[in-house]
Structures are given as C-alpha cells and as structure tokens.
Subunit: 232 residues, 2 copies
C-alpha cells in the first residue's frame, strides 16, 4: 500500500475468497481482508464461505470510487427516468433477493468459520505423514479456513489426476488448485514470467471436501481413504 501510494496507484484488493480473514499482528492488526486496498472485492459464488447463489460485493472507504462502481454496474444512467446513459454501463448488480440472502448468510459467517476451523484441524491431524500434509495458513492472521489443501510431496508413480480418480471411485470429489493463467488458451501466446513453483504446486496440491456441511465422520472417511492409497 505505501508503495502504491508513493506512485499514485490504486489497489483493487482481491478478497473474493477471504471474507472474514483478518490480521492478528503487525501493521494491519485487526484489519480484515478486503478493507486494506482502495477497493476490496468479495465473491458470494456458490462455493464461497457465504453465498448468494452468485455475485459479489465491492467495498471501499472512498465514496467517490463506490459511486463510480455502482454507476457502472447499474447501466451508467445519469438520469434514470430519462434513460440517459453517460457511459457504456453494465448490468452487474445483485438482485434484491440475492442481497437479502447475503445479509442472512453474513449473520452465520462466524459459525461457518468455526466449523471450517474444526474440520481443518481434524484433517491436519489425520493427514500428517512424511509425504502428505495439509498446507498451513500464515501465522499472522485469523484465516477463514475456507478450504483445505493437501500437499503431496512426492507423487512417485501417481499424478494429481490419478489421485483425483482414485478418490472419485470412493465417492470423494477433490480438485486441483486453480489452473495457471498462462496455460489457458486465451493467454498461452502472452508473455510469461518464471512460474515453475506455481506449476509444482498445480501438480502437487489437491483441495479436499470443505463444505460447511461436512461432518466429522466425513472428514474421517476422506482422510482414511487418502491414507489407504498405496502409491502415496
């Protein structure tokens, strides 16, 4: 933030998955993810810690920026009754129904985080071998424990696909972390910096079931099934 202020750059903070996470020490102690940049964005997609079925939210301390965001997301009408659009706008707002659901979901955020936290530590205790571990969160924050990333140190004769397939056969859906942007067809011809670490994690990390509805028995079953894999 100081660097951006020095060069007069605005920061759009991607907090899409981080709702409820905050710093517990350091310069930003007590600050929530999404409230540090000039603009913060949250996602309420179906897979997020709270959901409105789809959509998200923009926050800012700067009323002018918020006004501009709202203007652009609601068709850029400077005179609503006269249908006068001063820019090319978008139809990107939540419906009122989604917003109502979001308000109710927000009331449950801390209880969802509590469940996520319990399941996180359960996974972490169960999946702790020389070759398998649940990735840590950084220590200077209270994370929202949104999801649980299994790190497979040595894949041996396996691939992430073969492990996903094995678990699928035991009725467990897992996924890799998000694909590298520079592997996506629209961007493959674009300039790419060194991404060998990103590629390593793309191959070696699986995200485990993490719904707020996940029971302790579910976690046991997932961990037991992973440990039953002879090749890991």
């Amino acid at each position: 933030m100081p660097l951006c202020q020095k060069y007069n750059l605005k920061v759009i903070e991607d907090a899409t998955e981080a709702l409820g996470s905050y710093y517990t020490e350091g310069f930003y102690k007590g600050k929530f993810a999404g409230t540090i940049g000039d603009i913060g964005v949250y996602s309420f997609n179906g897979n997020k810690i709270i959901t409105t079925g789809g959509g998200g939210m923009i926050v800012s301390n700067n009323p002018d920026l918020l006004k501009t965001c709202k203007h652009l997301s609601t068709q850029a009408k400077s005179n609503e009754k006269m249908f006068y659009h001063d820019q090319i706008g978008y139809n990107y707002r939540l419906t009122n129904m989604q917003a109502a659901l979001g308000v109710a979901q927000l009331e449950q955020l801390e209880s969802f985080i509590q469940i996520k936290k319990e399941n996180y530590f359960k996974y972490k205790a169960l999946l702790n071998t020389d070759n398998l571990t649940i990735l840590d969160f950084r220590t200077d924050i209270r994370p929202n424990y949104w999801f649980y990333s299994l790190f497979i140190k040595d894949l041996k004769n396996e691939t992430k696909e073969s492990v996903i397939h094995y678990l699928e056969q035991h009725s467990i859906q897992t996924r890799p972390i998000w694909g590298l942007i520079n592997d996506q067809p629209p961007y493959v011809t674009h300039q790419t910096n060194e991404t060998s670490k990103a590629r390593f994690y793309w191959e070696h990390v699986l995200n485990l079931p993490c719904s707020s509805n996940l029971s302790a028995q579910d976690v046991d079953y997932v961990a037991k099934t992973i440990l039953s894999h002879k090749g890991l």
Copy 2:
C-alpha cells in the same frame, strides 16, 4: 428471416419485453416472439412482465448455438474440474434461486397478461380525446400488453418533462419511451441515419403506470388526472 437465410446471416431476436406475445395470422401465425430468429432473448428484469429480480433467458432451436451461449455465460470452462478455460468467458448465468422464481412466475404469465389487457382497454377507453390516445398494438398479434403508451398529438405549451412533472405532483410516476441511442454520450459522435420520427415519438409519448398490481381504481385515477391537465 428469408433474407437473412439467403445471405447466411444469423438473427438474434430481441424479445426482451415481448414474452407471451404471438402472431395470430400470417406466415408466423401461432409463433411466439423470441422463437422466430436463430436465437431469441428474453429479459426477466424487475420491470418486465415476469421477473426473476434480474437476468434473462436465451432460447434457440439450434442445440449447438445454445451450447456455445451456455459455455460463454458460464466462464467457458471446457474442463470444469481442471479449471481449464478455452476462451475468455463470462459470469452471466442466473442463480438457481432466480431460475426457481422464474419457473413460478412463468406459471402466472397468462394471468398477468389478462390483467394487463384489462387495464389496457380501460386506459384506452378513458384516454381518447382529439389530442390524447393510447397507442395501438399491431392487429396481427396477441400482444402481452406489457405497457401503455400515451401519445400526445400536440404538446402546445407543454413538454414531456412538464407533463411528467405535473403527474409526479399527483403521485403518478410516468416515463418517456427509451432515449435515442444516438443521443447517448458514448454514441453521439457515431454515424446516425434519419431519426426524426423516433425523435418525434421520444418527445410525444409517455408510458403510464402498468404494473400487474395496478387496480381498476388506479387506472381511473391516472386517466382522470391526465384529463385534468389544462394544457393538453
């Protein structure tokens, strides 16, 4: 359609406001608006004849076109689990909650049209002077009677704004028809064809209250108030 077929052009039929309207005679007798082009689009925005709070629907007889539309509107993932996006996609789908509401709304479409129709003929009978008339629908269709357009033949010393203001002071919200695209700032420098008729109607037409919740008493009050305007 035959002309477009001859030149191999695809027709995207803007039926955003026309859900439920169909031809009652001629070549397209029995065909609904939105089902004639290669692709038809409907809007379920809050002001439409049925609503999902926002959003809309794409229909087509061509499964390949529909597949492409769905692909582009749902982030263009060719492999959902592996997060592989083969094009730059969009997040334009309805939520499942909106879709559920839309299904329930669709069941009420004909009853909404019935109310709209009754209020249309009531307005038409009441607002029928040398200077004021409710615009007709074309005669070869069953319209959905979505809204009621008051045509003011001679504005005399009034403007549409002054009439809107007069009605507003009597707690009646009216609006002009949509503004001309060539009057909108993003397009004012673009090429424009002859639009004098469009401009004439832009100045001379007001859309009257038309909610499906409008009672017969409401229609009476609106008509009576318009007729009480000394300058029309």
